[in-house]
């Protein structure tokens, strides 16, 4: 019988060592050969859009097609919106990564590490007309005269209400002023058992709702010169209102509100009114058409003195980190994106609105039924919101018409000032939703505002020291 050959320790260590070295070296031998195929490249990092067909059926193919036409190897990576801040921070710290990174909230804190986009904005305005002011205020730092990002579009944040419930309560056209949410929303909760859904939690939508309320009550975190003005009688009035609203019209689910709660509550038939983009309605159209048909929209609700503002729901901001070696390609792609924003609006099922309303509609087959007489994005916007191309059979096609002039009642985080890094940190650490929630849970509104002011002033002072925020107090 043949004796089995023994493996000596020496042989084992040699073989294992060679294996490890081979595994480490192999990728460096093979991968660069593949990469050398394209002369230029462009790596884009974008969020996974709330409307899945936007990525799959449009954006990815659109970017690749542009790359092919311009001799650029384009890679598009999608990540969850919650991962964008940490991923960007990691890439900036490492000094390598994507050439273009798309954020859906202001990115002012990255100003020292990103390129000035002034030339892109200038060129875009030359070709496509004026950029919407709310887009400019969320991409430009007036203190340093620096465009830290380029904003090609944004998303409307209307009120969505269940018409049948509000009709029974005697307000079929939905709420008009914030007080209606207590008067009629409270009545719906008592008589029909359906609550309102406005988040008072540590997340995105609650942050925007709190800001909308403050602005509609003629108050804000900062003034136009970036001085903190939070602690004033109007903020106390707004905070006291939120405490009443919670008591009369809502249930404790709002303290655990998440980014998907709007969709869940609406689809489950457990919300008479929510503050959200039309994505919740679009989801309902696909999952529960009978509820979708009952969903109608309102513009910004008005406060006690007639002011009404909502926050943009999403603001698209592309940054080019300073480490990027493909700056020209990145800028060209952004201009191409603006040029084709009609397709972005359509592919997102009207979730995306343009930053350049006067941009002309390119000729040829655009992937949607041509709108007669439409020459600019403004014409398309008006036509589609007047007659929703995505309405279900038998559904009222004109229910989005109230959103046609949304840019008049929509504004930016940081309003009436710019979206500076201090506003960003106040947003990220949930100061405002917690101020509202504290009052809703029984704290005196004045105390809740004072606590929020303390946190806010500390944050502003810190960023002011870095020269990125203006103002004095």
């Amino acid at each position: 019988m043949a004796k089995r050959r023994q493996i000596t320790r020496r042989e084992f260590v040699k073989a294992a060592g060679l294996g490890v070295v081979a595994a480490g070296v192999a990728p460096t031998i093979f991968i660069p050969r593949q990469a050398r195929g394209a002369s230029k490249e462009l790596k884009i990092l974008v969020w996974s859009h709330f409307v899945p067909r936007f990525d799959k059926e449009w954006y990815d193919g659109f970017a690749k097609k542009w790359g092919e036409a311009n001799g650029v190897a384009v890679t598009v990576d999608h990540i969850n919106l919650a991962e964008i801040p940490s991923r960007t921070a990691a890439e900036v710290a490492a000094g390598q990564g994507h050439d273009l990174i798309e954020w859906i909230q202001p990115t002012s804190q990255f100003e020292p590490s990103v390129l000035n986009m002034a030339d892109v904005v200038q060129e875009a305005e030359k070709r496509f007309g004026k950029q919407h002011p709310l887009c400019r205020r969320t991409s430009y730092n007036p203190n340093t005269n620096y465009f830290y990002s380029f904003c090609p579009g944004w998303t409307i944040d209307p009120g969505c209400y269940r018409k049948s419930l509000w009709e029974k309560a005697g307000k079929g056209d939905g709420p008009v002023v914030w007080e209606d949410l207590i008067a009629y929303g409270g009545k719906i909760k008592k008589e029909q058992g359906i609550q309102l859904g406005i988040g008072l939690s540590q997340e995105l939508d609650s942050n925007m709702a709190a800001r909308a309320l403050l602005w509609s009550y003629d108050t804000s975190i900062q003034d136009e010169n970036e001085n903190v003005v939070l602690n004033n009688p109007k903020t106390v009035e707004a905070t006291a209102y939120m405490a009443r609203l919670f008591k009369e019209s809502m249930v404790p689910e709002v303290f655990a509100w998440t980014a998907v709660s709007n969709n869940q509550a609406l689809i489950a038939g457990r919300a008479s009114y929510i503050l959200n983009s039309i994505s919740a309605y679009r989801s309902a159209q696909k999952e529960v058409p009978e509820i979708a048909k009952d969903i109608y929209f309102t513009p910004a609700l008005k406060g006690p003195r007639g002011t009404g503002f909502h926050s943009e729901h999403v603001i698209y901001g592309y940054i080019i980190p300073k480490y990027s070696k493909n700056v020209d390609s990145s800028k060209k792609f952004l201009l191409h994106l603006v040029e084709n924003y009609d397709q972005a609006m359509y592919a997102s099922e009207l979730y995306n609105s343009p930053a350049f309303f006067d941009a002309p509609i390119p000729s040829g087959n655009r992937g949607y039924t041509a709108v007669k007489g439409a020459k600019k994005l403004r014409d398309l916007h008006n036509a589609w919101f007047s007659s929703d191309p995505f309405a279900l059979p038998g559904e009222d096609k004109g229910k989005l018409a109230v959103l046609k002039d949304a840019e008049k009642w929509s504004t930016n985080i940081g309003y009436p000032g710019p979206a500076n890094p201090a506003e960003g940190e106040v947003f990220a650490t949930f100061v405002l939703p917690n101020m509202m929630a504290n009052a809703a849970r029984g704290m005196a509104p004045q105390t809740a505002v004072e606590q929020a002011e303390l946190l806010t002033k500390t944050i502003f002072a810190k960023w002011r020291q870095k020269g990125l925020v203006g103002g004095k107090t």
Binding site: P85, F430, K462
Partner: protein, 317 residues
Amino acid sequence: MTSPSNPTPLANADRGGILDREGALAKLLIAPAVFYIAAMIGAPFVLALLYSLSDATTGDPGLRLIGFQNFRAALADPVFRLALRNTFVFTLLSQTIVIVLSRVLANALLKPFRGKWLVRFLIMLPWTAPISLGTIGWLWMFDSIFSPADWVLRYLGLLGTASSLFGGQTNMYWLGIPGLAISSVILVNVWRILPLATVIQLAGLSSIPKDLIEAAEVDGASPWRRTLMITIPLTLPIVSIAFLFGVVFTFTDLVVVYVLTRGGPVHTTQVLSSWTFFKGIEGGDLAQGAAISLFMFPVLAVVAIFILRMARRTEVV
């Protein structure tokens, strides 16, 4: 017989190559582990120290040293103080519960019964599942609208009517009411650590010499006395290891709080690791985030020393 062209191992040893020198080979083999620890733990730790003394932000990670400003700012921040307290409370409470439950489970698993393998498998499941996936499962369990736990309570008549034990509302709102949210976070931490603690306790109980227990039984010691005088003292070192491991895992955990509550409602479930993330990464203040995270270090260092000492004592046992 060995041919001259095929030298024996002894001949190789005589040549004194590195592969045949025990000390050198040991160093060579341990080198990757040392390098890994230095690169993955040592370097980030030094970086965190430097960041905490600087004014670095996510957008400007350059190091300009500003002394202890970030530590002073953290201590002055009421949210940080709440997060610090929560971190201790959540850790100690959950690990105390874990030790009690794991002892009960380990005792049960020592006994022979039908389907024991299945029970062991089920107990180990939470440990094998990724923590983020498991916590997302719990998120649904605690959902404000679709919670299965609420459905069961409603079905049993304990929720949803005016006379119900838990009130007339349709849901418990587990993550919307501070007390329930805190309990939920602790419960998920218990669920997560329990399998490891059970296995460790099981190993400890199995190692107790049977003759000691039998001798105590012959001497007429009651089950309680046997537990207090034999089982607990003999398993104390290994139970301590289970406890300390649990402390490390829970004290540093971000996932459970981040997925379940994001620190809410109103920061009532905020812990040091989640506040580090919100302040340092989402808020952009990298330096402040680093300073907050370093407050965990003294506790973890002490725990690590205890674990090593306990491990040595366990070896003696």
